[in-house]
Structure formats: C-alpha cells, structure tokens
Subunit: 440 residues, 2 copies
C-alpha cells in the first residue's frame, strides 16, 4: 500500500438533523457556469471572424489553438470512408462492444418517435400536428482527454433515428491526433461528415455555415466554457441542447447494498473531473460509515485517484437522513442528473420522484451501464435542470407544425368567436379577416 | 375617401425570375433581435438587484418604470378571487367567446399529452421513460398596448393541461391600469397568482424567486427587448421558451381566393406592429396584382392603417414564382411562423412542407381563427426558427426521466460491454463499477 492509502477520506458529512443542513447542502449544490466577460468577448470575436472569413478563419484558429499546420479545410475534413475504416480497424472486442451499445441505444430511442396526428370535428374541420425531422444537425464532440466515443453514439443516434437528413460532427484534434474510437462511433451512429475543428469557432461554423461547413439547424454536445458560451450566443440562430454543468450522481441506499459497489459507483462519477459531484443518501448511519470505509480503502487503487480525491473533497457528500420519505424530499429538491435507487423495492419510490434525469433502479443497475450501453441517453440535465428539462432524445431532433383546416361551417362558427376576441384586443384586421369567412 | 386612399401601396414586389431575387429575399427576411450592450448591461443590473433585494427591488422598479406608487408587493399581487371577479364582470358576449376559445384550446392540447412508457427485455431488465410535469411555471404577459387575453390562454392552458402544480403570471400595469380581459383569461386558463410587475425585473423574480414571488421552473411568454434579454440571461437557471422575433405570415395562393380576403389576411399580420412581416406568394401574376389593388383599396379603411402601411413598406412582399413546386421550395427556405395555403387542394402540399410553425389550410382558414380559437397554439417559432422548433405546447411544461432497472442477468451482460467501452475511454472506475455486477 502506498502512503495515500492511509490518508483520511475528505468528503462532506451531512445530516438532515443538523441546523445548518440547508445552508450546507445549498453551498454544495451551487454551481455557476456563467462565463466572465473576457471569455464572452473572446467568443464574440471568434464568432464574428467565422461569419466574416469562413473557412479561412477556421484554418487560422485550428493552427493556432490546436497546434495544427494546415492550409485548407480539405485537411480538416473526414469523409464517410475514413470513418468506416476507423471502425473496421478496431480490435474485435472494441468493435463488438461499440456495435452492441449502438444497437441498444438505437432500439431504445426508436420508442421515442412521436407520430403526427389529426382529428376531424363534427363540422368537417381538421386539426392536427405534423412531426418532421430537422434537415441538418451538428454534433460537437470534445477533443483531447474528454473525447468519448460513447458521447458520439448518444448525440448522433437520436438524430439519426429522428430522420435528420444530414448529421455533421465537429471534433478538435489537438496536435493532429485523431481518436479512432470516436471516428468508429461516428460511423456506427450515422454521421455524414466530420470536420476536425473545435472551440467557439466550430460552433460558429455550424450555426452560420462556411464555404465548407454546412449551416445546421441545431448544435448539440458538450464542450468547455468557450463552447458553452458560443452555444448560448448562437441560440436562436440555431437550436441548442442544454448548456451542461458538471456531471453528478445522487445514490440512495437502504443499507443493504455492498458498500464496495456503492463506493465504486460514487468514484465512477467523481472520476469524470474535479467538478463532478457524487453524493450518497441513506437513513442507515452504519451503512454510510461502511461505504466511507470502503471508499477510503479503494481510493488508493484507482487510476484516477487524484481527480476522484479532489472531486469528493470539493463537491462530494455523505448524507444521513431520517427515513425513506425524507430521501424522496431530497431527491426532488436536488433534481439529480443521475439518480441511483439502491433499494430492495425501488419501484415503490418511482411515483413520488418528480425530478431526475435518469433513474437507475435496484442494486444491479450501476450508472456506468447507462453511461454506455443500457439504451437510454447519457446526455442528461445537470445542476438541477431536471426540474424543467429532459434527457437528449429523438424529440430534440424533430419539431412540430400545427395543422388547421377549417370547413366553411367551421370557419363561420370560429369566425364569430375570433371576431369578438379580436375586437376586444383592438385588432380589427384580425376581426375583419375572420368576418369575411362568416356565412351570410 | 381620404387622401391616403390614393396613396400608392408601398410593398416589395419580387419575382423568382429576377437575378437578384435571393439577395432581396434574404434582406427582407433578415432580422437581428440581438440586444446591444447597453440593454445587456441594464438587464444584468436589474437581475442583480432583484437577486439581492427581492421584493424591495420589484417595488422600486414598478414605481419607476410603470409609474406606480406602491409600497409593498401586496399591492402588486392579485389572488384567484380577483381573477374570477374579472371574468364574472365581463360583458356576456366577451365572456362566452373567451370561454369558447379556452375550451377549444384545452381540447386540442389534451391530444399533446405524452404517456410514460416502459418495456421489459428477455432477461427481465426494464427500460422506460417517465413523463412528469414541471412544478411551477411562470407566464409573462406584456402590458400596455400588447396585452392580449388570447396570449394568456395560449401560454397558460398548455401548462395547466400538462399538470403543472402552480402557474404564476406576471403582467405590468403601466399607470396602474388593469386589463380586465387579461385577468379574466387568467382565471379561465387556471392561473394561480398574478403579480402586476413586468420587464426584466419580473423575469428575474420568476427565475430566482423573492419573498413574495415563488421561483418557477420555466418562464414563457413574449415581451420587449428587455424581457427577451432577461430571458436569455436566466436560461439555464430556469427553462425558457423561444425568444420570439416579430410575427410573420407567408400566404401561398393559387389565384382562386377572393383578393379581398387575402388582403385582409395580410393586414391582420401587418397590424401587429411595424416589424411584422406579411408576404404573399403566387404563380399567378394577375392575381398578385388583384390582391395588391385590394390592399390599396382597403388600407385607408383600416383602424391601424399607419402600422400596416409601415409594416408592408419595410417588410412586406408580393412574390411571383414559377409554379407550385417553386412555392414549396420558398416555404421550406423561409420556414414561416404562419403558413396559409390558400389553395384548392392544400393537403397535397402537406407532405412536402418541412418547416412551418402553423399551417392554415384552404381558403376558409384565416390565420385569425388560429390566433384566437381554433385550438392549436398561437405561440409559434418566428424568424425561420421553425427549422428547429415547435409551437408552444404541453410538451414544454413536462419533462422526461429515463428509467433503467437491470435484472442480475441484464447487469452482467451489459457489464461486459460497458467494461470494454469504459476502459477504451480510460474511465476505470466506470469499468470496475460495472464489473462488480458481473456473474462470477
């Protein structure tokens, strides 16, 4: 054992019985992902440059920020053959695992497809809703240490299932290093083109288009503060998914799950990065202590020990609560991105859970299974935004159009109502437009 | 007839045959709703003040901006009894029209409710999606000249149908003037509380909460540039709907609809405000001329003549195209908020229309009917954002949680795949968390 094995585990220990519990919990949960004005200004400049200079700006920024030495976008473009090649050349085991994951993700997301519908009223008028896919989606994939093939699958497959005509992926390749697993995942997920660009400039290129990069209708995918700031800036010009904060998990345990399993589940969240948040809630104090001991014991054996240690110290928590009901209250207050219900009968809790990105039920459902291959999406609302938003899904790559087809009879009866209301709003052209269709 | 009767109608006349057609159309469609840095800074200050001083800031701003003289939020709060009173005291005709509209809007939106679903796999694992409503929604209703009771119905009824627990409405009342129709609509739509505050301060209050105003999960509804800027700023803290640009309509006519009907349909869009956009497309040049003549003839009879005249001059267009197919191309390029298909067989076009907020089919379906009472929502994606967004709907007030419940067998087979992929991403805590659940 190394020295670190005997270091005490630094993590917040809370109890709902303590007077300052609310304040401490609030402080732990607080996360301000807001970019400062320097970042904001830099991003505005980059977006303006890409709008003005197109490909030339992308080439410049890639040479500068990613230490490339290219002279045209051709060198930053990968076609479908290159993606297939990456897939074909993977070791068998990885190829099979990636294909198995893609297949399960596709199957799950196919259940999300909404149908167009309409109904006919007694007077012959038809009302309905037509569902159509986006023409073109842009997937941002981070480069370097956070280049995850699983994220490519999770972002691109819903777009593909939705029927998006063209899926464009951008991924920076610092120092020109390509990640073959990422390219292989792009092949499997139905990505049409890959541009090896990143940062705010890649977001700007997707939002406004350049000579080479086609303008897309929506930009999705995680990224650093420059990427997040650029997404916020182009929101409205194109659609965007949520702007993600650090990843988090809330595990609720009844005390009967193996403490080592739970320790590792918490580590799997904490290892993402120093800002990630791993929290365990239980009404069994002895169990909390046992999980803590398991964490202290296992931590020195972890490859990403330093990251995990920082994450647990800064943002982790072991929370003692009174009972199951109080655990439910905590869940709904925290609205966690990932919720693991390590309980004998997790189903009994489900109807009471109002806010959570993904719910992992029972002792066997480690979050890691959902991260890779269970089927549901791993792009989930963070920082309490599960109060109002959903996992990335097929619905993010489709939109609806209302359909109204009035019969002459329908137009006449609706026209009476519309005329009264329009005149109440002093919009007389509205009223007269409706009145033309009244039956004489 | 007045002098204005003989004024020439000023409106852009375009033909797809002209060389500069693309450029001219692009210029007409261009709309930059971006707020300048002075507005941005003012909004940031207001948000900071509301976060820091709560109710006191709201009282100050209302006194200053809306020329009120109140000393506490009590004076800016209307309870459910006041809303009911407003409804009960309406003239019979208005009360009936409002109730009829509310009923139809409710019926249509009930069709939008998605169901939770789940499925069980061969190994006993369960996957699914749980749909839940937001806890609390905030509806922004503009005051003054743009206070529309119909907007209250359109924004609040979908929230109510979604099952939102509490619906909070804010509406500024400049000089203390209450709009009884707006309050009556709030009563019908299921609004719980009304606060008579507006501007960026109202958005900040909804997003962060004050002593009196409860923090909501999502803010929807139209507003001026301060409101739009504030919504963009609080996006992430709460959900928001789209940031709306000026309203627009694209009418496509086969030449057989009464020119006066179409003239009035175009006016009904143009009368909203000077930035509103009304465009007519036809492949029948004579018909375009006839509509133009009708517009010139009818315009002097309009109550809102000046607004209509400016709107048509600055942003309106009569567009001659080659044929039906070219009209479809234009529709998909423009992605209009409102699309009126004034055609003999509008249904034959429907499968080809990829982007539109709402589609009004046939000669009898005036947009005005949809604005008030047909049933579908009148809050629609503007400025081409129908490429990637949808009418406001029940789905905007609900969110989804993924459900994963692995059987021991399922956890074991998924664990094999997850382990390979996690190690490929160097996330070994993920791998080990999955491996704990492998069958020995």
């Amino acid at each position: 054992m190394t020295d670190s094995a005997i270091r005490e585990l630094e993590i917040s220990r809370l109890s709902t019985q303590e007077k300052d519990f609310d304040t401490r919990l609030e402080a732990l949960l607080a996360w301000e992902g807001v970019s400062d004005s320097a970042v904001q200004q830099r991003v505005d400049e980059i977006i303006a440059a890409v709008k003005a200079r197109g490909d030339a700006a992308l080439v410049d920024y890639s040479n500068r920020f990613d230490r490339m030495s290219v002279s045209s976008m051709t060198e930053l473009t990968l076609g479908p053959e290159r993606l297939r090649e990456a897939f074909d050349n993977l070791p068998r085991e990885q190829r099979d695992a990636l294909a198995a994951a893609a297949e399960r993700i596709r199957t799950y997301h196919q259940r999300q497809k909404p149908e167009s519908w309409h109904y006919t009223e007694a007077d012959g008028s038809v009302l309905g809703q037509q569902v159509t896919p986006l023409d073109r989606a842009g997937i941002y994939v981070p480069g370097g240490k956070a280049a995850y093939p699983s994220s490519v699958l999770m972002n691109a497959i819903p777009a593909h299932v939705a029927g998006v005509r063209e899926i464009v992926m951008v991924v920076p390749t610092p120092d020109g290093v390509l990640n073959e697993l990422v390219l292989a995942a792009a092949h499997l997920a139905g990505v049409d083109h890959v541009f090896t660009i990143g940062g705010a400039q890649a977001v700007a290129a997707l939002a406004y288009g350049t000579e080479t990069v086609p303008r897309v209708d929506k930009v999705v995918g995680p990224g650093n503060i420059y990427v997040a700031t650029a997404k916020r800036a182009v929101f409205g010009q194109v659609g965007i998914d949520m702007i993600a904060g650090p990843s988090e998990i809330l595990v609720v345990s009844d005390g009967e799950t193996d403490p080592e399993w739970l320790a590792m589940d918490l580590f799997s969240q904490a290892e993402h990065d120093e800002d990630a948040q791993a929290m365990l809630v239980s009404w069994n104090a002895k169990h909390l202590a046992a999980v803590e001991a398991a964490m202290a014991r296992l931590l020195p054996t972890m490859e990403r020990e330093a990251i995990i240690r920082t994450s647990l110290r800064e943002r982790g928590a072991l929370i003692l609560c009174d009972d199951r009901n109080e655990a439910v209250t905590l869940i709904n207050r925290i609205a966690p991105e990932h919720l693991e219900l390590s309980l004998e009968d997790p189903g009994s809790l489900l109807p009471e859970i109002r806010h959570a990105g993904a719910i992992f039920m029972g002792r066997y459902t480690a979050e890691a299974l959902g991260d890779y291959c269970a089927g549901p999406n791993h792009v989930l609302p963070t920082s309490g935004t599960a109060r109002f938003s959903s996992p990335l899904g097929v619905y993010d790559f489709q939109k609806r159009s209302s359909i109204i087809h009035c019969s002459p009879e329908g137009a006449s009866s609706l026209g009476e109502t519309a005329s009264v209301l329009a005149r109440g709003e002093s919009l007389t052209a509205h009223a007269r437009s409706a009145e033309y269709r009244l039956r004489k």
